[in-house]
Amino acid sequence: MKTAALSALAVAVLLSVPLGGQAPKRYNPPRTPWGDPDLQGVWNDATSTPLQRPNGAKDVLTDEEAADFQASLAHDLTRDRRDGGNDVDVNRAYNDHWMDARRLKITADHRTSLIVDPPDGRIPPLVPLSPERQAARAARAAANTRFNAGLPDDFTDMSLPVRCIIRTDSPPYLPTIYNNDFQIVQSPGVVAIAPEMIHSARIVYTDGRPHLARGLRQWLGDSRGRWDGPTLVVETTNFRSDDGVIFQGASSATFKITERFTRVDATSINYEFTVEDPSTWTKPWTALIPWNKIDPGEQMYEYGCHEDNFDIVHFLIGARNRQKNAR
């Protein structure tokens, strides 16, 4: 009995040793005046490490491989390239203008996927989906096809980000080309996480209150938090189901996400999330994304979206003109 417990402990210790092989140094985070770990500040999660490991890639790159990868990524994206024709050139210049330069770096530990479990770095296989969910996915795919062809029927053919309803503010938080900041503000019993894009604040109660009743559904779900030592653990459920676009096409009835925010040094947080949905994936999966404190001279500014969403009208007017000209 004792031996079994000891070996289980040994396995746990081994598992917690990071990939670099050094023993973990436990960082003692600063505390708020009321004694909670202090996560406050503006953090940035930009990285070019993909969510899923590219097929055939090794799991961790050497320093040299990482440098090569970052150099080639910078070259692929630079506005100074002139190949590929005018449209491609203009697109590169446009993206370069907006792109968060931190986006050009892979994670400091040189992983090739943000997913750390399963070990192959890939989203687990799907379970067989019901005919209704297959139909919903097919309808969504058809709308995407119309939009990508420049022929959206109406605004509902566009994605929620294009419609400025939600962008990277819906958990889990995944890095994107720009606006990767998150500002955390705490008061007793509350941790508020304000993503830069789009200007919402997720108010996470840590006072032990229950979740909303199951019938109340929100675009960003309903979050409850608790402290596990230095770690803020946030569980989110109650996502909306009527749009067919919940994260990775999961089922809102059974989808649950658990996020863990842990300060690992003075300037970074480990953001780890596990998603589970037995009616979508064969097993839960977990990703780890480093959040880095932004330069003290920087600020997070308001990200408006819908208020000046000229694009949505351009897309629709363009589609109507294309259809008129095709007749």
Partner: protein, 283 residues
């Protein structure tokens, strides 16, 4: 000498008494508990119960924009002015524009980028409401008072937020829908200086408006554990003849486990804004 001294003492006593009386009359008797940093904690969910979102000034009850469709659902309640002195001191041209805004409050046209913002109440179009309108819309808002010189104000309407930077000197780097808020404590009152507001927001459904020169100074003062007095002074030399002030109480929402819910209104306004560009025959 003795007489004089008595007189002085008497005057002193009277002055003290008078001072106490004035203090009682002028400042709320309530002394809020202080947090570790020596300031009151304004954190919580608050809501105004004035009808200023329909009209800051005196207004009768009114029908909605489309009574033939909405009946009494669309109607608005009457209410008394929250403007000190009753009226907003508009320059003559600005009063004419306010009336024009009101006449066109329900009209939108987003077919041209250049005139995208020209028509319609921004609330109708689900825009972030700006300051001070966000405070007296008929939706709750939440204050999260951080311990790092940062106060988050999170509004239920369209999930608008703003960060109040305490004791901050940097000027607004760019205009924003919710402006640029810098805070400081004056005794137990939180004073927030707001600049950098986008000129397109309105102050109410009556077409009251401002320019990009609007400068708002807000004052938040707890008057009991459950009430907070809100004051805002609006200065805009392009639109008004002088600065003017509004004030009203905010009420702490007391329901057990109450939380802000989403009011993401973009889906509620897309048909109004974009429905006319739909492919014919697809709906």
């Amino acid at each position: 000498m003795r007489v004089q001294r008595r007189l002085v003492l008497f005057s002193f006593a009277a002055a003290v008494l008078l001072g106490v009386a004035l203090a009682v009359a002028q400042t709320p008797a309530y002394r809020p508990p202080h947090r570790g940093d020596g300031h009151p904690d304004l954190s919580g969910i608050w809501q105004a119960f004035v009808t200023a979102n329909w009209d800051l000034q005196d207004h009768d009850a009114q029908p909605g924009l489309h009574p033939e469709l909405d009946g009494a659902y669309g109607a608005g309640p009457g209410g008394q002015s929250i403007v000190e002195g009753g009226e907003i001191p508009y320059q003559p041209w600005a009063l004419a524009k306010k009336n024009d805004n009101f006449a066109k409050r329900g009209t939108v046209d987003v077919s041209n980028d250049k005139t995208w913002h020209a028509l319609g109440d921004p609330e109708l179009k689900c825009y972030m409401p700006g300051v001070p309108r966000a405070t007296y819309m008929p939706y709750p808002f939440q204050i999260v008072q951080g311990s790092n010189n940062t106060i988050l104000m999170s509004y239920e309407f369209t999930s608008a937020t703003r960060i109040v930077r305490m004791n901050w000197t940097q000027e607004s780097p760019a205009d924003a829908w919710m402006g640029w808020s810098r805070g400081r404590w004056e005794g137990d009152t939180l004073v927030v200086d707001v600049t950098g507001l986008r000129e397109e927001t309105w102050l109410d459904r009556a077409g009251d408006f401002h320019s990009d020169k609007l400068h708002v100074i807000e004052r938040y003062t707890l008057t009991s554990p459950y009430h907070m007095q809100y004051e805002a002074t609006l200065d805009d030399p392009k639109v008004y003849t002088r600065p003017w002030k509004i004030s009203f109480p905010l009420y702490r929402r007391m329901e057990k486990n109450l939380q802000l819910l989403e009011f993401k209104c973009v889906p509620f306004t897309e048909e109004l804004l974009y429905g006319r560009f739909r492919k014919p025959g697809t709906k």
